[in-house]
Symmetry: C2
Subunit: 133 residues, 2 copies
């Protein structure tokens, strides 16, 4: 089973520009309780480096691109993330975002509000939970 | 009562870039059932030109800026929308988006899924509903 769960996005393009729509319970399997986005990114600085115990997320670059590492403790996959498709980041997936393009706008939709106790920020701890889970 | 309902946004800025978080039932008063975003916008082309009967929305430029016209049938207000604050677009507000900057990324969070019957796309009809409502 691949770690990479692509979600195709619906865009409507005309002379005015491009409109992209993402619907809860359809394109994402949850009502969206929180969104967050990254802008003014430094290309040489990476982000992420954590996993969630329960949170479900959908991530996409609205503009530009980056590389995402997904790791379930058994397998690692690199994803070239752009604006044409989103990826689901499921619970217990260690994820890192690297190599942001200068213009990158990275958006995440999340299934729940912020809860620090849902984060695993230490890779050794993550592997312990993978092996004991 | 002003038509302009600003919502301050929480951003965390460090050497990696800028992270902005918007939470349902907190920064917006609803669970987010749909998001949509505009990219690759033509600066000379305007968008919107409708009102919603019930839908609640929160709009922000993640990057760049534009001008938004809000009109409740009694009063018209122009908003310079950038990335520092969002605006609520409430039901029965005719809205138009103009003068997108070249780099503009315009994001909207909506309280419900798409429903064409919720749209009023004709200004005369809008004014009729305002006056009969």
């Amino acid at each position: 089973m691949s770690l990479i769960k692509w979600v195709n996005l619906k865009s409507i393009v005309d002379s005015r520009g491009e409109l992209t729509i993402i619907e809860a319970q359809k394109d994402v399997s949850f009502d969206i309780k929180r969104i967050y986005y990254l802008t003014n990114l430094s290309p040489n600085m990476s982000r992420g480096y954590h996993a969630h115990r329960d949170l479900q997320q959908l991530a996409v670059c609205l503009v530009g691109n980056c590389r995402v590492l997904l790791d379930d403790g058994f397998e690692k996959c690199w994803v070239e993330l752009g604006s044409d498709k989103a990826i689901r980041i499921e619970p217990m997936i260690w994820h890192e975002m690297h190599d942001f393009s200068d213009d990158c706008v990275f958006l995440v939709m999340a299934s729940d509000k912020y809860d620090e106790s849902d984060y695993i920020r230490d890779y050794t701890k993550f592997m312990e939970e993978v092996n004991n889970g």
